[in-house]
Symmetry: C2
Subunit: 586 residues, 2 copies
């Protein structure tokens, strides 16, 4: 159906621009496009789209048939030449050189079968008649080089979306609007969270003051929580010698994802792609006793991934990321409790953030594919059983996935559906049978003998800062909960003459640990209020004649219509309480 | 004098080991050494040092003269051959090949001038007589290859120190003892602060949980203070494209100190050696108004320096460092206030840490060396005047140093003499006239026009974590003030049966935000107490029969003889207060 829409579009374009040369018109996700050459320097404008849509509607209303026919390749080329369609000729000649003897065409024909309209070199398939076409909308115009090469002419591409029903199209457009409005890049720019600069490089966001506040608050949440659960924080360097990554196995298997090696005067170094090898080195930095297990080493560790520059986008795909990482070193009989604790932490976080739509996935090995997995059947069976038990005991919704584990052990992932419909894995807990072998991790047991029964749990409940902030930006649509909000209270003066009072108020709130912005821009009050509303500031206090010296503050609370009255003490108390609770309420 | 001691040492060695072959015996800082070949496999032991010292004392007591004479090079070689001193022969032959016609010798002679003792090929000079020799001590023995090459035989090197008076020697030995005891590497190992591992690489310390606590506390101090002074925190990536460092001028001038370049699919990247270029990019990420100045961007920024592996030592010289960095963007008329604020912050920090022995140095340009400095005479004169005024107005002790400024502007450094006598520059504040030119930094002034009057102040009051922690470890000799102490209260049980009580106490203290270690090792109480004393834990609580259920806690306070009694409430209150104040008292 979507492909048929692209033919209808091309037919409409040829009606309006008979000289247009046709490129290609394939189906894409949710829609279609078609490329056109309008002649030197001529381009479509957004104004053309409604006109083309009208033409298309007219064509569709004619209940045209899509008729397929074949012709020999040479005939086809001759025909396309007569139609003065050089790009189509080029395609047909290429097919000829590949040995194609006949080519297929699709043309639209009126219901009587007499009148032929648009005809296109095409493999199909198509709908029978334009009556089968659903609802569509032309979305945008973009320049696109013929066959993607900048040596070729630049064509004009028209994008459209199409669905079987108007309702489905409307739903899609609404999702799209939401996705656009909530795009973390858009929010990031509007709220000055981060910036990406060509001089620094793609995939390397610079966090602006507002974004740094959000990062820091998330990191503080992690530190406090981890400290409560007995984690010890460490801080490791961001690179290591080649040898370490040969021991860990990242080299050579993971080399393509790592940054290029750096040769120093004492060997070859790599920026780290993972924090685990460094944590293992710390584990080994002193002899460990059974009394120390489980040992939980935590770090917001920075990892470096050499992604291709073309794949880098906003915060979702970056080359340097800060991971809410930790490694738990424990005995086999401690695995269950440790996994349960991490799941508890994850649920605690998600409740705080107000996440509801998520589920768990237990990824297991496949004993039939022993080449894909470390060969410790007993550990696989034991630990998979234990993980299943935990998920059941904690009454968490989960699915099991065979043959989806990591090489070194089973894992539990948390699957999300974001507000804009993107499927995402945010948190992960992985068990690792391999590290103790590769690194020779041991401890001295209660009997004084050395045991190598050291299981490692990799876990990252808060994912990486970059992905988490992007996810939260979209989740909240930029309306951050109070504790994460870069500005918590915005003060607006009706006139400069109230600035002393406003400064005093700002100072008192700041002293109470509240992040305040005093808007002293040269603009009207209504502009400033609108601006603060658009910035989704949780609380706004407007200071005018009436407010100075009054017993109460007039506070506009985000998302509420009526202005609330507070005494300063109550206002501060309420904010402090909500911040301390990390509440999503205002 | 020190050189004469080395001759006396050699004379003593030859008396005890007549077959010994002599290497060289030069002067070093505070002393001397001499290299000997005792024959295959034979070595000195530490037990030999007192014996040699006695011999040396005897020789010195004979009031021997040092007598110089010359001989032709050929005669000298022949003579050294008869003395069976192959290393000396080698030296003499080398001098011959360099064209020396005569060589000089020094021999010890008895006061009558009749008896000759030790004779050595030597350029001198020497004291007249051993009566002029002061106090000495032989310190250690080490293996050393002849002429430093591992292809040559391994000789035995004896090190000694020597001073004109016994008092000076004693003072030196005490300083040395202190330096050794307070060496941050030793404290770092004993207190498990950090570890350096060959698999990761030299100059790349891994911070263990205890060290991470100290780093984090220092960083928290910085964040709180900077927030109070209106700094905005940012977080920037650890690398950037070549272009950025061409703009900043780090390339090519600073290239040798930078990590090797990494070629990615979209250009050449460098790990950052400085944070300023990234901060300048943030400054430029949106148009700035005069209302935003001074803009203070702060970050504990990580920098990478490609130091030669041979120069790396503990935390004092590393390849990756975390800097208490910030850049202040201001107008010329704001320079003075901003410098004054930074000096205020520095004094606040130093008072907290209990530093007393420091002074300031104002480094200025030299108008006679215009090639060494950016050519803005008016800015140099103005800003140097302003900095001098501030130092005077704040009554800070300072010296002025001509021709010591940075290329881009004057600076104020804080000079330290560490407890173990090392001179050190910890903090620095630098003014920068150049950045605005290189990066094109501007703002929109009150009249709405674009001004390039953007002065940049680089400042780092708390230096870098690595250097600061090393300095503090030595300063406190490992007896950290409460707020920095990785363990604040250590709980020791007299027997396992009190563990429930001890656990409860630990839990209550932890809930009050206090860092507690419950020593559950399998050892005697007296061992545990000694261990906690050695670890310099601020407070130690021993739990025995008497303590369980008692109204008061018996607390051993670090540095105090008598045990103090506290109610739990008072104890917690006192600790919380001292932590909040970051007091150096207990």
């Amino acid at each position: 159906m979507r492909h048929s829409f692209s033919h209808v579009l091309a037919q409409a374009v040829l009606q309006m621009y008979p000289e247009a040369k046709l490129g290609i018109g394939p189906v894409i996700e949710d829609g279609f496009y078609y490329d056109f050459d309008l002649g030197a320097g001529k381009t479509f404008t957004p104004m053309d789209l409604p006109k083309l849509e009208k033409r298309m509607q007219k064509i569709i209303a004619q209940s045209l048939q899509f008729e397929r026919y074949e012709a020999s390749t040479d005939e086809s080329i001759a025909y396309l030449k007569t139609r003065a369609q050089p790009y189509k000729v080029e395609l047909a000649e290429e097919l000829k050189s590949q040995g194609e003897k006949t080519l297929s065409f699709y043309r639209t024909v009126d219901p009587t079968g007499k009148k032929h309209f648009f005809n296109d070199l095409c493999k199909g398939p198509h709908v029978q008649t334009t009556r089968e076409l659903g609802a569509f909308k032309l979305m945008s115009i973009a320049g696109a080089y013929w066959r993607g090469s900048e040596k070729n002419p630049m064509l004009q591409r028209i994008y459209g979306v199409a669905f079987p029903t108007q309702a489905e199209l409307d739903a899609h457009l609404e999702r799209r609007r939401l996705a656009e409005e909530r795009d973390h890049r858009k929010i990031g720019q509007k709220q000055q969270l981060f910036v990406i600069d060509d001089r620094v490089g793609k995939g390397l966001p610079l966090w602006l003051p507002n974004g740094t506040i959000i990062r820091d608050e998330i990191e503080r949440l992690a530190k406090e929580t981890e400290s409560r659960y007995g984690y010890l924080r460490v801080s490791t360097p961001h690179l290591a010698k080649e040898d370490l990554y040969l021991t860990s196995g990242h080299l050579p298997y993971y080399k393509d994802s790592m940054y290029p090696p750096m040769v120093m005067d004492d060997g070859t170094y790599y920026m780290k792609a993972m924090n685990c090898p460094h944590h293992h080195v710390i584990y080994q930095s002193s002899p460990r006793s059974y009394r120390e297990l489980p040992l939980r080493l935590a770090e917001y560790g920075v990892c470096y991934r050499n992604e291709l520059s073309g794949t880098l986008a906003g915060l979702l795909r970056v080359r340097m990321l800060s991971m809410n990482d930790a490694h738990i070193y424990c005995r086999r009989d401690q695995i269950k409790t440790e996994f349960a604790q991490v799941l508890e932490i994850i649920q605690y976080y998600f409740k705080l953030f107000g996440f509801r739509e998520y589920s768990f996935r237990l990824s297991k090995w496949d004993p039939a594919h022993t080449d894909k997995y470390i060969n410790q059947p007993d550990n696989w069976e034991y630990s998979q059983g234990v993980l299943r038990e935990i998920l059941q005991e904690m009454r968490l919704p989960f699915v099991e996935a065979d043959n989806e584990a990591a090489f070194y052990g089973p894992k539990i992932d948390v699957q999300f559906k974001s507000v804009i419909g993107r499927e995402e894995t945010l948190s992960t807990i992985q068990l690792d049978f391999l590290a103790r072998e590769r690194f020779g991790l041991t401890y001295v047991d209660q009997q004084g003998s050395r045991s190598n029964e050291v299981f490692v749990i990799h876990r990252s409940p808060l994912s990486v800062h970059e992905r988490m902030v992007a996810f939260l930006a979209e989740h909240y649509g930029g309306a951050w909960p109070l504790w994460l909000s870069p500005v918590q209270v915005q003060i607006i003066m009706v006139s400069e003459k109230f600035s002393a009072y406003a400064e005093k108020l700002a100072h008192e709130l700041r002293t109470a640990g509240i992040r305040v912005h005093l808007d002293n821009a040269d603009a009207t009050v209504s502009y400033k209020i609108r601006h603060a509303e658009q910035a989704k500031v949780p609380y706004m206090v407007v200071i005018g004649e009436k407010e100075v010296g009054a017993q109460s503050l007039a506070v506009r609370v985000r998302g509420k219509k009526e202005i609330e009255q507070f005494s300063l003490g109550d206002f501060v108390g309420r904010i402090q309480k909500l911040i301390a609770e990390r509440s999503v309420e205002l």
